[in-house]
Symmetry: C2
Subunit: 415 residues, 2 copies
């Protein structure tokens, strides 16, 4: 992609009411645009990052046997009345000329449970898990955290169905590991803790993935020995001790919930009277788990956590492009060489953003840092004399001079 | 994918209120499930078809320089008041505990125009085109056409911006051809006509892509000489003559609008006072075009048009899988051979659905026709004696016996 043609320019102005670091960086880098509090548009660069996240999540959910579906945002009142969640605060309801009442799903237990019930009767059909990447709506009063807490946002929600608690436990562990793989690939694994949190009335604890950041609204207590954490909300129940080793040496940190997994047991299958026929002919309760991760929140967390004073430092698998090719100066030789490298990279199927704009070196390098593509190749008269380009990784301070003949080899080793 | 594990079974029952052929076939094949009138869930097979359609559309829009973005369903009242479209019937409005009024976008001119305006000032920034694949909401009173007319549906909407009518005209022709490519790949090209339709107050005509089907709500008049059509609604303006050759030899057909392209001119840029500075320093009007295609409607149209009494006949590029591998009989030899072929196809990266269920031959072959995957490979004792399998294309009556040694070669030629 040529940057001169890219829609959504870098900017040094952000809306006055935009207090969150993630939205400031993402707006300045040309990734998102703010429509109103809690509602953002994804510009081409941001849409590209979202697609990368979608693909990672699809791969990891498919790997544990999740089957992708797509449910609707529009929901029937009667299903949500059954579970007692129709009148919760976050539910947006629809005013229309139709004689029915609809709400907009802010989670999809009330959708997926009767759906599963329609198709599944026998123990032979279990276990199975369904997921979707879909837009959620929540009437959030506080919506000041950029894309960390949206009124409309993209979420992956998976639901698993089992004939026993043991089988649910087994899948829960697989899902736990799948989530760690997602955070690993998103560059957040080091700062993300598997965290004991409230389980509601139906199971002792749920588990959150909490990523350390000052922007987080949660307080967690980390046991460094076990590498896990406890959400403040359940510290009392645990007598302020690590549930795994019993140690009371815990350190408190601020964090944001970037994922959560929950043994719902029969919390939602019961209201729909969703049972199965077991091999002994008996009708038994269906056990259920749910596994959520906000795609836009994950993107916002990366912007919060993996950034420096110059801009975002995208991890390789989330970066909108792998290479930022920047030409400096307007000499014909530089322009020709840069175009030549651009074509060569495209032929090699390397995702490249080519800054072909007629801007000063200062502006171009500053923009490049702001956008945060992992590897930058600078073509300028200075190094062209030596038939070379200057390469700098966004995450490192130093740069290297690489001969253009050896560029392909360099990229094969460094991308 | 093993069919025994696939969520969403084929069924011979459909909801009593489901009168449309597309929804009946798609529900029976396990592609979609009906939540309520105009609102459907996409099960794994249906989600897979939607993804294929998404990819085709992305490729063809990218090929004409479209840049993918993602705007929100939630919309600000003030932008829609400006264009006079806030109080139209199809707009669903939100009731919530927030002190703001929101609507749900049923088209996105009111979203994309102020967005483009924010980032673009000079003639140098033109032309450009933005598109999204996004969920639309419409308060449709008539919602009896299955996924052809949804209250919630997936749409690709592209918008182009230009400094002159001539430049808009030029892009319009490129978009026209891109649309034909989409219909070609979706298997609908032969039955789809470029159709003159009403242009509203701002341009003489818009153009629809009308696909012939009894399920269509439109009446079009085809000029076979030119290969174009005229929507009934503008026949009067055209004095019942072909606008291209002047012939009055037209034949009337029922059709469904599967796409439309529209020169909006300054219909939406004016209310936002979106102007650009030209090379002569003057402020001038921005010209705009829009290009829509409903993904779910396209899928429904394929189900209507490319089907026979047995079920859907998916075109290659839309089929959820390329091969349906079906084992018949429960003999160990058959099971082992089928598993072996399944693994081999997976290793060759061929998308395969493997019917490994313990059902009768009659049920399995009937289900296979209903699902409609282009190529079926049957493994049974009958042909295994000859070290062969039986292959049948869904679109043809005859089958072939192919030696298992030559299967790879056969598939390389026939997929």
């Amino acid at each position: 992609m040529k940057q001169s043609k890219l829609f959504g320019k870098t900017t040094y102005e952000v809306p006055k009411d935009e207090v969150s670091k993630n939205a400031q960086l993402l707006i300045r880098g040309g990734f998102v645009d703010k429509l109103m509090a809690g509602v953002y548009y994804y510009l081409p660069l941001g849409r590209c990052v979202l697609s990368k996240i979608e693909n990672i999540i699809r791969e990891e959910m498919n790997a544990v046997g999740g089957q992708e579906i797509l449910m609707s945002a529009l929901q029937k009142k009667e299903d949500w009345v059954k579970t007692g969640r129709w009148d919760v605060d976050v539910m947006m309801k629809i005013e229309s000329n139709l004689d029915k009442e609809f709400g907009l799903g802010w989670s999809h237990e009330e959708a997926v449970t009767p759906l599963a019930q329609k198709y599944v009767k026998s123990y032979k059909d279990f276990p199975f898990s369904l997921y979707q990447i879909q837009t959620k709506f929540r009437s959030e009063k506080r919506a000041k955290s950029g894309i960390l807490r949206g009124r409309e946002f993209l979420m992956k929600d998976m639901y698993s169905f089992h004939t026993s608690v043991e089988d649910l436990d087994k899948f829960y562990l697989e899902a736990k590991e799948a989530y760690f793989k997602v955070f690993e690939r998103a560059g957040l694994r080091d700062k993300t803790y598997y965290t004991y949190a409230s389980g509601g009335d139906f199971c002792k604890y749920s588990h959150e993935y909490q990523t350390l950041t000052e922007a987080g609204e949660d307080h967690i207590h980390i046991c460094d020995k076990c590498g896990i954490a406890i959400n403040e909300e359940v510290m009392g129940d645990l007598e302020r001790k690590c549930p795994e080793c019993g140690s009371s040496e815990l350190r408190e940190e601020k964090a944001i919930e970037t994922g959560n997994i929950f043994k719902l047991m029969n919390r939602y299958t019961d209201p729909f009277n969703f049972k199965f026929q077991d091999s002994d002919g008996q009708e038994k309760n269906v056990m259920m788990g749910c596994y959520g991760i906000g795609l836009s929140r994950l993107m916002g967390t990366v912007a919060e956590v993996l950034s420096d004073e110059k801009g975002i430092v995208w991890p390789k698998e989330l970066a909108p492009y792998q290479v930022h090719l920047v030409s400096l100066g307007n000499g014909d030789e530089v322009k020709t060489k840069a175009e030549e490298i651009y074509k060569s990279l495209q032929e090699q199927k390397i995702e490249v953003l080519f800054d072909d704009r007629e801007e000063s070196a200062g502006v171009k390098l500053k923009d490049s840092d702001l956008i945060g593509i992992p590897l930058r190749i600078v073509v300028s008269a200075k190094t062209l004399d030596k038939n070379a380009v200057e390469i700098k990784k966004r995450s490192e301070e130093n740069f290297e001079i690489v001969e253009t003949d050896k560029l392909q080899e360099y990229l094969a080793e460094n991308l």
